[in-house]
């Protein structure tokens, strides 16, 4: 009876140990199986593991293993990948053994442990198996060490990649976004209680002058919204300005023409102009041909608008929106025709052309502010304060960033410098 109890207990313990051992090996399927190495050869690769690349759409595998004392430029590593249970190896990468550590992965300190004590290699599976097959199935990996024309295989690790739900590496960006949204809502709610001072923008103050001139001369006003699509912020800002300009045009009972490059922009601008004429109490003055589609080709558009400007000699021309090489073609012809010209774009490469050829130029952010400035609506104007807040944040960051990085570099505080650079980095 007692013997049978001992036997039963022994059997239970043995079963438990075996079960635990099976569990441990099942819990770590990506751990490489160690192989016996002949004496005198390169020590085996230790702790080779598979991991899914974090914060990505999937399809990228990470292989990690410990850096060995024998790692030097004469030793090479080759990475092999296979989608089959046995064989079918494809060479994915090859590099000297003294390269590719955790530090080479470009992720910030809060999202990645940049250790120099382990090799980390990214394997982009879509490059070998196509986009569709890379998330879901299990892939096998092995590392081959090559020294003096001899190769040593590591064990095989397996795993599958997955799509991730959050870019932790963009946490700094998200925090900044949340801060700006908070300030944005604070500024907008603040606007209801108090008026805010906005500095004068000469280019926008000159709009009345330009429209008055057009009315006196009995000549049309041209409003050129550029060659951007409706998804461009500068084009959206341009439609806001068009709304205010066309309202004044309707009040002065003068003519406006809006030649278009993009048909969607034309459709939106039609609505904007129609609404402005309605608000000005002059719906009868609105005509469908105020907004006219010209061409979807950059230089055809420029040639056509130049022709119209040369023939009709408008009194005022507005260039507001996204412009590229056609900016000078348009502005120079406008200047030659004697029109008063007001331009605004967020393309810094085109600003010099507008500066020289136009009477007034709105620089980038002034273009975005123009709609609010002209409409005088408190909520829109208060949103401009958020732009000022953003600039303040940038100025303070640049000032202290320069000091901290300079001091850190001078005193050789590399980790400290890395932290500062990570905080302001984009990933």
């Amino acid at each position: 009876m007692y013997d049978s109890m001992i036997k039963n207990q022994f059997g239970f313990v043995l079963f438990s140990v075996l079960f635990a051992a099976i569990n441990v090996s099942a819990a770590k399927p990506s751990q490489a199986v160690k192989k016996q190495t002949p004496a005198g050869a390169i020590p085996p690769i230790e702790n080779l593991t598979f991991a899914d690349m974090p914060y990505d759409v999937g399809g990228t595998a990470l292989l990690k293993w410990d850096v060995r004392p024998t790692d030097n430029p004469d030793v090479m590593y080759q990475i092999y990948v296979s989608s089959l249970e046995t064989g079918g190896w494809i060479k994915a990468d090859e590099f000297p053994a003294d390269t590719r550590t955790g530090k080479d992965i470009e992720l910030p300190f809060w999202a990645w442990n940049a250790s120099v004590k382990e090799h980390v290699v990214k394997v982009e599976l879509p490059n070998y198996f196509g986009e569709a097959r890379t998330t879901g199935p299990v892939f096998n990996f092995k590392v081959v060490t090559i020294k003096d024309k001899k190769s040593f295989d590591s064990g095989i690790v397996s795993g599958k990649t997955a799509s991730n739900w959050f870019r932790l590496d963009r946490l700094n960006n998200l925090l900044l976004l949340v801060t700006i949204i908070t300030v944005f809502f604070w500024a907008v709610s603040h606007a209801k209680r108090k008026g805010l001072f906005i500095r004068r923008i000469a280019g926008l103050d000159a709009i009345d002058e330009a429209l008055g001139r057009a009315t006196e001369m009995g000549k049309p006003v041209y409003y050129v919204p550029g060659i951007g699509g409706m998804s461009g912020i500068s084009t959206i800002a341009s439609t806001f300005i068009l709304g205010e300009v066309s309202k004044k045009v309707a009040q002065y009972d003068t003519q406006i023409k809006v030649p278009h490059y993009d048909p969607i922009v034309m459709t939106v601008c039609k609505e904007v102009v129609k609404q402005s004429f309605l608000e000005a109490g002059r719906p009868d003055s609105y005509r469908d041909d105020i907004n006219q589609f010209i061409s979807q080709d950059q230089f055809s558009y420029a040639a056509s608008v130049d022709g119209m400007i040369s023939r009709e000699k408008p009194a005022a021309i507005f260039f507001m929106g996204y412009f590229m090489a056609e900016s000078l073609l348009l502005a120079e012809v406008g200047a030659t025709s004697g029109a008063i010209q007001i331009a605004g774009t967020d393309q810094e490469s085109q600003l010099p052309f507008f500066f020289t050829a136009c009477d007034y130029t709105l620089i980038g952010e002034e273009l975005y502010a123009a709609g609010a400035y002209l409409s005088k609506e408190p909520m829109l104007m208060s949103a401009l304060k958020v732009q000022d807040f953003g600039k303040l944040v940038v100025m303070v960051s640049v000032f202290f960033g320069i000091i901290l990085v300079a001091v850190g570099a001078r005193l050789h505080w590399d980790p400290f410098v890395q932290v500062i650079l990570n905080l302001f980095g984009a990933y």
């Binding site: 990505d56 759409v57 023939r311 000078l328 967020d346 020289t356 980038g364 975005y368 958020v386």
Partner: protein, 222 residues
């Protein structure tokens, strides 16, 4: 009516704005598929809008011809140009080249479209000269700084200018190419970055104004 003209469009803008913003922080396949889907929808809307644009173009120029408005003769070329590209495209099945050489569409592209486009681009060179002349008129201190910077750049880009610089200022041991490099990489980049920072912040705030329905002028007002 207000629901259809105001609240539903604002809800659509808010929903798609927030989803698109979120897709920047969500790398999942769902997010990637969403971005692709929206892009496809944009193309579909674009195709219909292009048709509207074409109708607007023809309508406007047809009216000019019918009313014999000033410069109506130019409007004929809109139709001529359109047919000169569309008919060959139809005949050639949309292909510019074939085994025997270029097709009729290829010919139209090479000898009509490309020729006109290149001519227009070439005009830019002359406009740059007249613009440069205008910008070199020194009316203020800022204009003087601009003139000096531009003059050094022009001087350094031509061999004769380099010879003049070396003979007059060679004793300073500072070559004109060094000065140009400094101008382009220090003051020019500083100014450019300042503008770019302002533009980026302005773009962010404008996006918020649209997403959160603060700016809704494009929908019309109540």
């Amino acid at each position: 009516m207000k629901l259809i003209k105001k609240y539903i469009p604002l809800a659509i803008v808010f929903t798609f704005g927030v989803l698109t913003l979120a897709s920047y922080y969500v790398p999942h396949k769902v997010s990637v598929d969403y971005t692709e889907l929206v892009s496809q929808w944009e193309n579909i809307v674009y195709a219909f809008a292009f048709l509207l644009g074409l109708i607007s173009l023809f309508y406007s120029h047809y009216n000019k011809i019918a009313r014999k408005a000033d410069g109506w003769g130019y409007s004929i070329f809109v139709f001529v140009g359109f047919l000169a590209m569309v008919i060959p495209a139809y005949i050639s099945g949309g292909k510019q080249g074939s085994e025997t050489g270029i097709t009729l569409l290829g010919w139209s592209f090479r000898y009509i479209y490309n020729a006109l486009s290149s001519t227009m681009f070439a005009v830019l060179a002359f406009y740059i000269v007249s613009t440069a002349y205008r910008s070199f008129r020194i009316k203020s201190k800022q204009a003087f700084v601009l003139f000096v910077a531009a003059f050094i750049l022009i001087l350094g880009k031509v061999p004769l200018g380099q010879i003049i610089w070396d003979s007059v200022l060679g004793w300073t041991k500072c070559g004109v190419s060094d000065v140009i490099e400094w101008i382009m990489s220090v003051p020019a980049v500083a100014g450019k970055r300042g503008i770019m920072i302002g533009i980026s912040i302005g773009a962010i705030v404008t996006s918020f104004k649209i997403i959160f329905g603060i700016e809704k002028q494009y929908l019309g007002k109540d």
